[in-house]
Symmetry: D2
Subunit: 271 residues, 4 copies
């Protein structure tokens, strides 16, 4: 397992950015355990997004993702979300959506020995990063065979058409407008997961496999259920799990394991 | 010399951010050179800001700042500017100015053995970071005994009252409005270095010592000369140097050395 | 929580070395969770040692130690063991024991806001690092109020008086001689935990509180039981736990949590 | 330019090790400078070794190697020498020579998009690392088209047949024996650069192009001149430069630039 910190100039972000990577190209030798042969074929990859207030170190330090990357032989790339919900800020020239949905995929494939096949490429995240995985997994559906969305902050359900003065206790109207743009135009836009799904259906494009999980005591349970219901109504396959839990790392550490299990047993067929 | 990468939750930025630090608390032992005794008194500190398109790694990898930190026994802290000119984005809740001018100073003093005296605390930068050093050195003048401003992008001279459609080849009206706010209100605001100087003068507050340098072939020469002329007109002490050079690391590597020389020989008297 | 990578010149090692640190001087703000006030008193500290084949990244990436450091408000320092069992190599001038038992404690206290009290200072580790914690916790008992020893490779029980040709499947006579020196002189030396305990008892010095744990399927179970039996026979207090488990991160992730629980509830009385 | 920190399990070292890398796969966009098109062909590579007392951060923080890597479009890999002169410690199972001369070359070629051609692959270093570059560039001559050796600590000239009690002010008989093995067998061994050259000549194998430089006030000048004289006597091509200078980073920063100039203008013909 190579654990890697990368710093590079992102054209989408117009500046040097940092991400962390886990690359199971070698295997640790632990006394008392037998060594496994390494598969030398191109690696599967998972782009894994942090939540609000976190950065590229969250997943690697708060969960046991390193071991999972080894166990499932999957490269994991963790960029920094910078509280911008992985959507583009065109005015400032920080195209977070394009960065994680497109440039980072291309750049990591250029730098590392990765499979370039859609069915070997996944995007996941928690909370803000769960939204980011859904939004960019759908927006750039041609790149991703699967989406892992944990405790997702599918905020368009809450803030679409919000008016000045709106606040949900975490952030307010000004913040949401800064990040999502004109809130009266959010519904139906490419930041609205339902609109993105409908667009893929209409064009006959492939929709990534979707895995969702949320704790039953999570304050975001309602929007996760609502998106699940929408997917079911639209006959879009989704694996959805709920269990006792709140919005914390105990839940995410457990469910990233289950999600990678799901990935391994539901590998998209070759297309 | 301890070289340190720090990641912490910034309240001003509302998220985990990273900065690099150089802390001359020990000394390398190099064969053939005699070991110097280490002074154990609290360290002087320099907050050193990168330019547009760069991040916290620029100074440490593009210049020989590590050796200079050792030679001048000064701790150096390098945050990431993220193309935001070190001014606050209140809507998004990313208070870059408050972060580098206030929180980072307080946080590093809490974490490391630094002098808490104004005359031992400095802020510097290049290009966008030169502007950031001038702006935040003046805005938070109670924290800083000196300002080092290299090839500074003192953009208010250029973009104040700019109108839609304005572009300077690097960025455009939308970007500048995103970063600096309403451009028709820029003049006289706390993002206008001249206004900040006048305010300090009027209140009788101490103005940090200022060191400026710019290459004679630099595309930002005019705004550097203009600010120098303003300072001279207002009888604000400034050390200003020009020499053949463009907007690049050859110039900055040379002048950060000269600037630290200047710092050492112009240490503010105790006040 | 500041997560920190440090690189510095170690006099004990005669070269630049790297360690990782977790410093709970701030707290993350997670949406949906209330913010806790930060205690501003000097931090307790734990020097946490990796096993054979690992380095300073093991604990931080394989376990959830970051959250535990936050929860228990304890600074954690993770140096790299470099397969040398945390004992000195005097010929080469790499004094691993002195480095982790003495210099690193002094250096981190100089660099960070740590409590300098013995009863706030702990050493722990797993496998090779469990031995390292026992050996250096006893050798430098004046620095440490407690020892956490998980699945400890207390090898002197196995290799004392080993002869050329000896091999235990992991390493051989030449390796053990390189690391531990003359194996015929190991018993009774300062690399023999029993001898170190007897010496402390004889001199009337304080012995650190000891926490030991080992999996019942661990290939090192016998030496852990043997050292426990010795401690009990000598009336040296020890908290010893066994449960189903092998020599892997599942066990260590569980037991570092239990060990920090034990630390918190068995804080040494002030002396 | 991607700047990368890698941590991986080295089989030659039997443990996790860290190295730094510079990979000019992208280019920074600096305002006022025009963007250059990136060549997408596999990168040339330089394995660059630190001196005694340093580690993988030396070259990147003490020199301007990052810019040079960009300018010359060459990937640079910087492992840590750990005061072991890049020769194998077979007893401990730390095969430093095999690590930098063989495994690191293979591993980086597996992980990154590098040219696998000998004439695109170089090894260099300073002081202890200069010796390491000469020794391993010759020992693994089939991998390297060129050697850059600055202020090289070609110690076999000094310590061969040294006797107990020997000390050169930096290290002593015990240290040298620990690192180089039996000093009475050093001459003619694969740690003796002259012997390695003779062996290549006898077998008719290609000898890498050699670039040497040393300061005229350097305390290692004599051994550099002696090896140059040997090469000239043996009609082995060498580019040798001396100029005013001592054993420090001013010299190495200047000469790594000149050495890369030399590399670019003396690219080995395809073979």
């Amino acid at each position: 397992m190579a654990t890697v910190q990368v710093n590079f100039f992102s054209k989408s972000m117009r500046r040097e950015v940092s991400f962390n990577a886990l690359l199971p190209v070698d295997l640790p030798v632990i006394p008392g355990q037998s060594e496994t042969a390494i598969q030398q074929q191109p690696l599967k990859s998972l782009y894994l997004l942090n939540g609000y207030s976190g950065n590229q170190w969250d997943w690697i330090t708060f969960t046991r993702i390193r071991e999972l990357a080894d166990r499932y032989r999957i490269a994991v790339f963790m960029p920094a979300g910078e509280n911008h919900f992985y959507v583009d800020d065109e005015d400032k020239g920080e195209l977070y959506g394009q960065y994680v949905g497109q440039e980072l995929v291309a750049f990591t494939r250029e730098l590392f020995p990765l499979s370039t096949r859609r069915e070997h490429t996944f995007i996941g995240g928690l909370s803000m990063g769960g939204y980011g995985a859904i939004r960019n997994g759908l927006k750039y559906a041609e790149h991703f065979g699967g989406i892992i969305a944990l405790s997702s902050a599918i905020l368009p359900y809450k803030i679409a058409n919000a008016e000045p003065g709106y606040s949900d206790g975490i952030a307010d109207y000004k913040y949401f407008t800064r990040v999502f743009g004109d809130l009266s135009k959010l519904e139906g836009s490419d930041k609205d997961p339902e609109a993105l799904v409908m667009q893929l259906k209409e064009s006959g494009a492939l929709i990534p496999n979707i895995y969702m999980a949320c704790g039953t005591e999570d304050f975001l349970l309602d929007v996760n259920q609502r998106f699940r219901d929408f997917l079911l109504r639209e006959h879009v396959p989704v694996t959805y799990t709920e269990s006792a839990g709140v919005h914390n790392w105990d839940f995410w550490n457990d469910y990233i394991t289950l999600a990678l299990d799901w990935l391994a047993s539901n590998e998209p067929s070759e297309q």
